[in-house]
């Protein structure tokens, strides 16, 4: 899918995301924690499932009656647990579908990210099987419908000769062994594979977000509890194989394939599932994408400080022993794995050598993007600043995935779009503010916690706040820096905030004659609005 088409398709979802962002705050927006929310929902499913299992009787008649007892006699705990179990499972499907749609529409599944996408596909199967086997265990009319439907589906695979569906022809033909098998699959077999699958899914992700924010966890649990009380999960009538279930209250999140099979055939459903699975798994290579060049290490500049390896969100950089010409190991040096590199440039931003204050001509860094070098960055900034004559003069750094910086152009503003704002070395900010090159620096990019490259905006904040190497020096006047992460829909808001920033700079007489004098005056000043750092 081309980028304009992708952006068009993403627009409705982005509006919903933005709306949730206003309500929850950008850094706690549930849409940026969909994977973590799914894992959290699995915890709820696990705990509620363990409680249900204590009372569950694993035989044809006992299964239904034990669930009924929990639902009606112990509604205040067992019933609530059952409802939580069901609704958390349904919520997990919604969260996963949104997660998949979002990663696809934001083009975050290709290149080095193929691994997480590819390993996520079996998880969809496991989740569906977990849901189906769970409904089977209740042994009501719905379970009967699912059991027969599942058996007919399996019978359509030519490797089976004796039709499994014959086991569900009459009540007498039914065996408790099916419950043992289903209970094993639902309680142990599939969950073990699911946990393994999740581990594989996040294996290549450095510091994956496993837990959503506590407020989101609490809110989700309260909402699920409320739903459980308002609409408790209940069973259908006890299964009777002498009768055919007529009207069923299907859980469409898990059981939609069965009506499709009724309307078509088991072979059609298998075909649909097979084509869907193969297509989904192959998406990272459809069509093949021209890969951006990976970051390059300039060994003559590399001191082996490890900052780039620590900051790389994809674990593409490792430190190896540097062997000097006399075959002696001296220090470490960075090595980039091109197959893991997403060409974000965060490593350049983390490199302490990427500073204009070094006496090195031409400007050099130890790690750089060939397609967006540090030298190119400085040349662009200088060029754009020279065109911005009006004071106060502001450099606006944006990223290629947030608000398009061209839309923020206005008198006195020099805009620069980076592959990721994480590419910006803190020393660049200081350099911009020195010697009246610029009066202020405004940094924007993807929403907080939702960086296209996972951690770019967080790293920028931490570097400016002095919490992470390389730090922005304490002597730099923070009131001349403003950081505002924003959704791509917020161009107008950003323009107003840049204007307000310019007004604040004017009011504090920055943009006047002496830069150093202004720095001293402005230290500790806070202007209204935006995030000062």
């Amino acid at each position: 899918m081309s980028n304009p088409l992708r952006n068009l398709a993403y627009r409705p979802l982005r509006r919903v995301e933005d709306w949730y962002g206003y309500a929850f705050g950008q850094d706690q927006n549930p849409f940026t924690y969909l994977g973590a929310i799914t894992i959290y929902l699995f915890w709820i499913i696990l705990v509620s499932g363990l409680y249900l299992f204590i009372f569950f009787e694993m035989n044809v008649t006992g299964a239904y009656h034990s669930v009924e007892w929990l639902t009606h006699e112990q509604w205040y705990l067992g019933g609530v647990m059952r409802s939580l179990h069901r609704y958390a499972s349904d919520a997990a499907v919604v969260a996963i579908l949104l997660h998949v749609a979002r990663e696809f529409l934001r083009n975050r599944y290709r290149g080095p990210r193929w691994y997480s996408w590819f390993t996520g596909v079996p998880l969809l199967w496991m989740l569906t099987l977990l849901g189906i086997t769970g409904y089977w265990l209740v042994w009501d009319e719905l379970a009967q419908y699912i059991a027969i439907g599942s058996a007919e589906l399996l019978d359509a695979i030519p490797i089976f000769t004796d039709p499994m569906a014959r086991n569900f022809l009459t009540n007498e033909a039914l065996s408790d062994r099916f419950f043992t098998l289903m209970a094993f699959l639902h309680l142990l077999g599939i969950p073990i594979f699911l946990i393994l699958g999740i581990w594989f899914h996040v294996l290549r992700v450095v510091n994956p977000k496993i837990n959503p924010p506590r407020s989101v966890m609490a809110g989700t649990l309260i909402a699920l509890l409320a739903l459980s009380l308002v609409k408790p999960a209940v069973s259908h009538e006890f299964a009777d194989l002498g009768m055919v279930p007529t009207r069923l209250n299907l859980d469409w999140f898990y059981l939609a394939i069965y009506p499709v099979m009724d309307l078509t055939s088991p072979q059609f459903v298998w075909g649909l599932l097979a084509v869907g699975t193969v297509l989904l798994a192959a998406l990272p290579w459809l069509p093949p994408e021209k890969k951006q060049p990976a970051a390059e290490v300039h060994l003559s500049q590399c001191s082996g400080c490890t900052f780039c390896a620590l900051d790389c969100p994809y674990g593409a950089i490792t430190l190896v022993d540097h062997i000097s010409e006399d075959k002696k190991r001296s220090h470490k040096e960075a090595v980039v794995d091109p197959s893991m590199c997403v060409s974000c440039g965060i490593c350049t931003g983390s490199c302490p050598q990427a500073t204009p204050f070094r006496k090195h001509d031409p400007l050099a860094t130890a790690i750089d993007l060939p397609q967006f070098s540090l030298r190119h960055l400085y040349a662009t900034v200088e060029d754009n600043l020279s065109k911005a004559e009006e004071r106060p003069r502001i450099v606006v750094y944006g990223c290629d995935h947030g608000v398009a910086v061209e839309t923020l152009d206005m008198p006195g503003v020099a805009t620069v779009s980076l592959p990721c704002t994480g590419l910006l070395p803190p020393s660049t900010i200081e350099y911009n503010l020195r010697e009246e090159r610029a009066d202020g620096v405004f940094i924007t990019g993807c929403c907080s916690g939702d960086c296209q490259y996972r951690t770019g905006n967080t790293l920028v904040e931490e570097r400016i706040e002095g919490k992470r190497e390389p730090r922005l020096r304490a002597r730099v006047d923070r009131s001349r820096i403003r950081v505002r992460w924003a959704s791509v829909n917020e161009a107008r808001t950003l323009r107003s905030e840049i204007q307000a920033f310019a007004n604040d700079l004017k009011a504090s007489s920055v943009g006047g004659p002496s830069d150093d004098a202004q720095s001293k005056q402005a230290t500790g000043r806070q202007a209204a609005g935006g995030d000062h750092v």
Binding site: P30, R86, R166, I222, A223, M243, V244, R247
Partner: protein, 168 residues
């Protein structure tokens, strides 16, 4: 946005999410079988008769075989395909020929088919031919049945009784 507004927004956001889950977890209801319909399932697993007769091996043939395989009788393994037909109220509703399973076609033949029928009184006739060496159907059963709505009638063939059995 004020904190109150944010809180209200979160309540609405969760409510929308839960409403979606609450609705789709049971609704819209699905009609698997119409209220005035019943179902007939024709299903059995059955060995057809062997295709050929056993014959006695000659002493020369036996001598050519390894000692552990010198059984005096040579019996063909392949079994007859099974022809099955079902009529409802004199109208044919199903007819097929089932091939025995196995690479040597010496296993059971299986069938599992379901038919939705209007509830009420019906005349059923089911016929099976399981021996290609004879003419005509080997097993025929004609029966009048009264099917209540949503009832399931199973037509099975029981080898131990060598006859079709109906169960409701």
């Amino acid at each position: 946005m004020s904190n109150g507004m944010k809180f209200a927004g979160q309540v609405v956001a969760y409510a929308v999410f839960m409403a979606l889950i609450g609705y789709l977890s049971t609704s819209p209801a699905y009609t698997h079988l119409a209220d005035d319909k019943a179902m007939i399932k024709l299903s059995f697993a059955h060995y057809g008769k062997t295709v050929g007769e056993c014959r006695e091996r000659t002493p020369e043939e036996l001598a050519r075989l390894p000692p552990n395989m010198r059984t005096p009788m040579d019996c063909p393994r392949e079994r007859s395909p099974i022809t099955i037909e079902l009529d409802l109220n004199g109208e044919p509703v199903f007819a097929t020929v089932l091939r025995p399973s196995g690479l040597s076609r010496d296993g059971m033949a299986y069938i599992y088919e379901g038919f939705e029928v209007p509830a009420g009184r019906h005349e059923l006739e089911v016929r099976m031919r399981d021996d290609v060496t004879t003419e005509g159907f080997d097993h025929v059963k004609t029966v009048q049945v009264e099917l209540e709505p949503a009832h399931l009638l199973v037509i099975d063939f029981r080898a131990e009784r060598n006859a079709f059995m109906l169960s409701r």
